[in-house]
């Protein structure tokens, strides 16, 4: 057992989750692989969305995986950073829009 929560080498063992639940694991990976195929969105566009979400959910494995995936697809570092900002903007927006709730409550409680 490793003495830290995250080990980069664990990423390539991801597939092993099927060993403890064959059906659910397989269903998940089938779904996952299907999602990232070329579709109405290109695989390239979906890679950038995945990178942004990886940052928002703060998943180190996903960040490693989709930075590499982006490099493989010829995505530039400028494009990658803009995607991360798009994720960060939504995340901070999600925090700030609750400011309206705070304002409402403040106003309700105030004479």
């Amino acid at each position: 057992m490793a003495n830290s929560y995250y080990d980069p080498a664990d990423l390539r063992k991801f597939g092993k989750i099927t060993e403890w639940s064959e059906e659910l694991g397989t269903k998940f990976f089938d779904y996952y692989n299907k999602v990232f195929e070329e579709g109405a969105l290109s695989a390239r566009e979906k890679s950038l969305i995945a990178l942004a979400v990886a940052h928002v959910v703060k998943c180190p494995y996903c960040i490693d995986a989709y930075t590499k995936d982006g490099l493989q697809r010829g995505i530039t570092k400028e494009e990658m950073m803009e995607a991360v900002h798009a994720g960060a903007a939504i995340e901070s927006g999600a925090t700030l829009v609750h400011g309206v709730q705070m304002m409402n409550k403040y106003n309700k409680l105030s004479m």
């Binding site: 290109s42 695989a43 390239r44 590499k68 995936d69 490099l71 493989q72 010829g74 530039t76």
Partner: protein
């Protein structure tokens, strides 16, 4: 950015024995990853045997005007290994007597061999119809004596295959050296000007993309679309096809992988992406590689590892096609580079 070859810097990895030790040892020796021979044996493809010989790939010398970070040849201005006219004569003899229809000239920068043009002219007389020259593009701009190369290529209807790591300046210069991008763009425009790469033009101009780092190339068709769009919109440049080539873990690229602590991850990526269907069409099955000094190899990569063909015939002076066709192809763990994903060869994907 290095300006000298590993050889000139006396680096340990300039020694091919050391490279083979690494490729055969470590994660493979410990059983964490399977040896290439065991992997291809799973689908009954071991030993790997050649099919009909179609391409004679001749390395006319390791001298180059560039010192690219990933170069598997460890080429550079300081490399003095250059094919002589005498060895070229032996190659011409073979061209006259072989079934190979394509002559694929590589280096180094093949154009820097002082007898390059003579060789092309003589090979044309000897009956070669399909010429490929693997040009780094910047050579055309490197010196006045190379400025007319586009016209020379055109005269012999040479198929030009050029390296272009990315359609942005930053990524190109990082891999190949400062100023390489601008010179490459200018060279491509000159090739376009004489008709190369234009839609429907018989003058073939293809680009080679290989990743600038420890990752594999993604879908060749998608990359080609991106390259075409960007080069046309930004520079009004046209080309025919993009070949996505995987960097093989040898020579300077291996040195980089080890120094950047990416070697193990990269080998895992190659093995995970192993595609048995790609094995059938790897380039060693229809190509013979000839070194500057006339030795025969299954491919240019084996040439750099000094893994000569496993045949009684090992030198161009003793060339015998029947004997050679009966050989077993020499493999090691670098071969995973040609079988990853859609596969990789000097003509791009193979599966």
């Amino acid at each position: 950015m290095a300006t000298k070859s590993l050889k000139a810097r006396h680096k340990a990895l300039a020694d091919n024995h050391r490279q083979l030790e690494i490729l055969n040892g470590g994660i493979f020796d410990e059983g964490l990853l399977p040896y290439f021979k065991d992997k291809i044996a799973e689908t009954g493809q071991f030993p790997l045997k050649p099919k009909r010989l179609e391409i004679l790939q001749i390395n006319v010398g390791y001298m180059c005007n560039q010192v690219c970070e990933h170069c598997h040849v460890d080429a550079g201005p300081d490399r003095k290994e250059i094919m002589t006219r005498e060895t070229m004569g032996l190659c011409l003899e073979v061209i006259r007597n072989t079934g190979a229809h394509t002559l694929d000239l590589t280096g180094g920068a093949p154009e820097m061999n002082p007898d390059f043009r003579w060789f092309v002219e003589e090979a044309a007389k000897a009956g070669i119809q399909d010429f490929i020259v693997r040009s780094n593009l910047t050579i055309i701009k490197a010196n006045k004596k190379y400025h007319d190369l586009p016209e020379f290529f055109k005269k012999y209807n040479i198929h030009v295959v050029s390296s272009m790591p990315h359609y942005t300046r930053g990524k190109t210069d990082k891999q190949r050296g400062n100023g390489v991008f601008d010179k490459s763009i200018s060279a491509l425009q000159e090739l376009n000007a004489v008709g190369y790469g234009m839609p429907d033009s018989p003058l073939r101009l293809d680009l080679v993309y290989n990743p600038s780092g420890a990752y594999l190339p993604a879908d060749q068709a998608a990359l080609e679309r991106d390259f075409k769009k960007a080069l046309r919109e930004d520079f009004n440049i046209y080309f025919h096809n993009l070949f996505a080539i995987t960097n093989l873990p040898i020579s300077r690229f291996l040195d980089y992988l080890i120094a950047s602590e990416n070697y193990e991850d990269y080998m895992y990526s190659l093995v995970e992406a192993y595609n048995p269907a790609a094995v059938q069409n790897v380039m060693c099955t229809n190509t013979i590689s000839v070194s500057w000094d006339g030795w025969l190899y299954d491919c240019d990569f084996n040439q750099m590892l000094d893994l000569k063909v496993a045949s009684k015939v090992k030198h161009i002076r003793d060339y015998n096609e029947d004997l050679l066709n009966d050989r077993k192809i020499v493999i090691s763990q670098h071969c995973y580079g040609c079988t990853a994903g859609a596969g990789s060869s000097c003509q791009g994907v193979v599966a």
